[in-house]
C-alpha cells in the first residue's frame, strides 16, 4: 500500500512480510549505510521496518514508491542498454561480497528467485 512519510511528505510504499527472519534481514542488510554507497547495489533501500501489534505475524517494510521497470515503455535503444547494464552489474556486488566479506557477513543472494507480489 502507499503511504506518505510525515517528516518530509515523501511518497513511500509499505510491504507486509512474514516475520521470518530471512526477508527483512536480507533487505535490511542491503540497506546498511555501507552498502547503500555501493553503486552496484540495486536492492531497494529499506527506509524503516515496524510491527503492528494487531498483526503479530507480519512486519512492515517501508520502501520508496517505485514503478515497474517497463512502465512507461522503453523508447530508445540506449534505455535498454542502461537497463541491461544495471541489472547485470548487481552481480558484481554479490561477487564482491563473496570475495571480501568476513565469515559472518558473506551473503550470497539469489535475489531473483522471487515470488510475484501478492503471493
Amino acid at each position: 500500500m502507499d503511504a506518505k512519510r510525515v517528516k518530509d511528505g515523501a511518497a513511500v510504499c509499505l510491504k507486509a512480510v512474514y516475520r521470518t527472519p530471512k526477508e527483512a534481514q536480507i533487505a535490511k542488510y542491503f540497506s546498511s549505510p555501507e552498502l547503500l554507497q555501493e553503486p552496484t547495489n540495486h536492492s531497494v533501500p529499506i527506509l524503516d521496518v515496524f510491527q503492528d501489534p494487531s498483526t503479530p505475524d507480519f512486519e512492515y517494510l517501508v520502501m520508496p514508491l517505485l514503478r515497474p521497470f517497463d512502465d512507461p515503455d522503453f523508447t530508445v535503444v540506449g534505455e535498454v542498454v542502461d537497463f541491461v547494464t544495471q541489472i547485470l552489474e548487481v552481480r558484481v556486488l554479490n561477487y564482491h561480497s563473496a570475495k571480501v566479506g568476513t565469515a559472518n557477513r558473506v551473503w550470497h543472494l539469489c535475489i531473483l528467485i522471487i515470488l510475484p507480489m501478492g503471493m
Binding site: 500500500m1 565469515a103 543472494l109 531473483l112
Partner: protein, 246 residues
C-alpha cells in the same frame, strides 16, 4: 495492464527523474492528485535507477557452504532444472531468470520455442533493433545449468557486446513490428528530430537551439518522411559551418 513474468514483476525503478512531479500510486499515468494526466520525460535524458524489491525466497550461504538447495525454487516456470525436484544451483537459476526477463520484455518469445528453435532469436517480437541482445540471452538461457555461465561471465559478455555498439545508436527509436507504415514514418521523423536537437544542443548555444527546435517542430514530418529528416540530421556539419560564419 502489462503482461510480465514474475521475475520481471519484481524489478522496479525509481521513476522520480522521469516523473519529477510524482505519480498516483494506483492511477500511475496521473499526477499524485489522481486526475491530472502526466507525460513522462525520456529515460535516456533523465536516467532512472532500477531496483530488486523482493527477497522472499532468497538464500544465504556462508563461506564454504554448498550452495545447492532443495526447495520449491524460483517462480520462473521456464527454468529447466526447477521442473524436477532435485537440488539445484540457485545462482545458475538467477542467470537463466535474468536472461528470461530480457527475453520476455524485449523479445516476447517463449522459452519453449527457444529450446526447439534457437533461430527465434533472430526475430525480435516486441521491439526491432535489439538484435545485439540475442547472443547474451541465448548465453544466459542455456538449458544445462552446468554449461550455463556464471553471473560474472554474463556481465563480461555483456560488457564486450556493449563495447561493440555504436554510440550513435543509443537514441535510435525502438520500433515495434506492428506499427503501420504511416505510424513508422511519423514516429521515425519525430525521433530523428529529437535526436538532431539533442546533438545540436552540444554544438550550439541555447538561443540557436531554441530556433532550430522551433524549425524542427514546425515541419510537417508526415509529409517529409523519415529519409528527408535523416538527411537533415546528416547535414549537421554544414549547418554548423553556416551558423558559425554568421
Amino acid at each position: 495492464m502489462k503482461s510480465r513474468d514474475c521475475a520481471g514483476a519484481n524489478i522496479m525503478m525509481d521513476a522520480r527523474p522521469i516523473y519529477p512531479q510524482g505519480w498516483h500510486f494506483k492511477a500511475n499515468i496521473c499526477a499524485p492528485d489522481g486526475v491530472t494526466f502526466v507525460t513522462p520525460l525520456a529515460r535516456i535524458d533523465h536516467p532512472v535507477r532500477y531496483y530488486f524489491i523482493d527477497y522472499g525466497v532468497s538464500h544465504r550461504f556462508l563461506p564454504g557452504q554448498s550452495h545447492f538447495v532443495l526447495d520449491w525454487g524460483g517462480r520462473d516456470a521456464d527454468v529447466p532444472e526447477l521442473k524436477k525436484l532435485q537440488p539445484y544451483d540457485p545462482f545458475k537459476v538467477d542467470v537463466f531468470t535474468v536472461g528470461n526477463v530480457f527475453l520476455k520484455d524485449f523479445y516476447q518469445v517463449s522459452a519453449q520455442s527457444l529450446c526447439y528453435s534457437p533461430c527465434q532469436f533472430t526475430i525480435p517480437k516486441k521491439y526491432l533493433g535489439l538484435g545485439f541482445l540475442a547472443d547474451l540471452v541465448k548465453f544466459m538461457m542455456n538449458d544445462n545449468p552446468t554449461k550455463r555461465p556464471s553471473s560474472q561471465m554474463a556481465l563480461e559478455k555483456w560488457c564486450k557486446i556493449k563495447a561493440g555498439l555504436n554510440p550513435t545508436t543509443a537514441r535510435w527509436r525502438l520500433r515495434k513490428p506492428d506499427e503501420t507504415a504511416g505510424e513508422r514514418v511519423v514516429l521515425d521523423a519525430i525521433a530523428a528530430a529529437r535526436q538532431g536537437i539533442h546533438s545540436l544542443t552540444h554544438l550550439f548555444n541555447e538561443d540557436v537551439c531554441a530556433t532550430l527546435y522551433w524549425i524542427y517542430t514546425s515541419i510537417d514530418f508526415s509529409v517529409l518522411g523519415s529519409d528527408v529528416v535523416a538527411r537533415l540530421i546528416l547535414a549537421r556539419p554544414s549547418v554548423r559551418f553556416g551558423l558559425g560564419s554568421q
